[in-house]
Amino acid sequence: MEQKLVALSGNEAVAYAFKQARPHVASAFPITPQTEMMHKYAEFVANGESTTEMILVESEHSAMSAAVGSAAAGARTFTATSSAGFALMWEVVYIAASLRLPICMALVNRALSGNINIHCDHSDSMGGRDAGWIHLFSENAQESYDNAIMAWRIAEHMDVRLPVMVNYDGFIISHTADALYMLPDEAAYEFIGKYQPKYSLLDVENPITVGPLDLTDYYFEHKSSQLAAYDKVPGVIQAVSEEFAALTGRQYGFAEEYKLDDADMVMVMLGSSAGTAKDVIDEYREKGVKVGLLKLRTFRPFPVNYIAEKLAGRKAVCVLDRSASFGGQGGPVFMEIRSAMYGQQVPIHGYIYGLGGRDFDLQQVGTVIENLQKAAAGGAVKDINLLGNRS
């Protein structure tokens, strides 16, 4: 497939991807660093390049509520937010997943208050990890664009019908001009396909009730049927990724494996910092240090079997979290990875780094690799460490 090489910020790239899906409805409220994404989208609509009905709401709670109503009416729908905006959506974020509505959302990752901070970390997304959405993470503008295309196919798959959030790092990806390949509009729409709702509130011939009172008699059964839905998601993510790879040449799946095959030591992370890590891994590889990277793309549903298989037999593993779990045992990714590795004799330690947009630099990756070597040699490394923090 002939693709156009363009220079766009992450926000612009995702706006283009969403436009190519030809959504019927978008509802959003501005918040830094998401604002430019919807700004760009509003420009498409104003210029007549998109027929999406834009609903300008008074808050993020309303943005997600409008998205739920629109999706239940049978419209292809998206929204976008960051940080406190996502927090304000909270109640309705769960409802979107419970009602099995295939809404797509761009979550431009930003730290949660307080104190107030507009820069990147993953605490917004991680706070919503149990809400029932599919979480995809991106390393750069290209991956943000690609995820925003594939998100529709995953969400709208007849066996899935769940909302998908496309995560990309605030400012680092959202506001940085980056080179990426874009699909032609027709090819992108052909890949995504025409939306076929399973039901519609507007279908007066077949009236339905959505979201009724659900007490001790049925709530648990509704949750158990929702839980079962996530078992079908990994297969769909794989299938959509393969189809996308055949079209574009870019391979995704649950994770990117960077110099992983023969690696004795592995670091696990998600988001833009993987790019920094790869550079330092290259340096250490030249010195003969067998270190590799597992960059998670899919955080929910958590690909537990894949992780357990990929990390089996390694001499040391470390997990880097760009969010903290206050009072918990390390960051959210660390907890998942260590749990996935239960019963295996692989030493695992964790880091919390980059909170509130703190730079993740080459030196920090160096420290991580030195510690991995220490752990691989049987040395003691603390379970949970802070990286790039002034002690």
């Binding site: 009602l99 019908r161 339905i208 009172l213 059964e221 509704h222 158990s224 049927s225």
Partner: protein, 102 residues
């Protein structure tokens, strides 16, 4: 009441049968209950129109619908019927709210 099996539930918990509130008994929430005084009833059907549930018992077998009373399994005691009931019989209404003693 028999329960639908988990695997037979609709995705997302949606309900495809219209008017199913009739199958869901919620009459034990009340503090006040409407008392029907048949002698004051002018069969205006306001209570049936305004009732947010299905608590007004209407006999539809004759040429005109007839108000028969309250279906207590569905009455939450909201009092809307009594509020809307016109005091058409010498200033007296056919529905008045009284405290329910349980």
């Amino acid at each position: 009441m028999s329960f639908i099996k988990t695997n037979d539930l609709n995705e997302g918990g949606i309900i495809k049968e219209a008017g199913n509130a009739h199958d869901y008994q919620t009459g034990d929430w009340r503090t006040f209950v409407p008392e029907f005084i048949e002698a004051n009833c002018i069969q205006c059907m306001f209570c049936w129109i305004y009732c947010p549930d299905t608590a007004i018992d209407i006999d539809t077998s004759g040429p005109k619908p007839l108000m028969k009373g309250i279906i207590l399994e569905h009455c939450k005691g909201c009092g809307i019927c009594a509020h809307e009931c016109p005091p058409a019989k010498k200033g007296k209404s056919a529905l008045v709210m009284v405290r329910e003693e349980k």
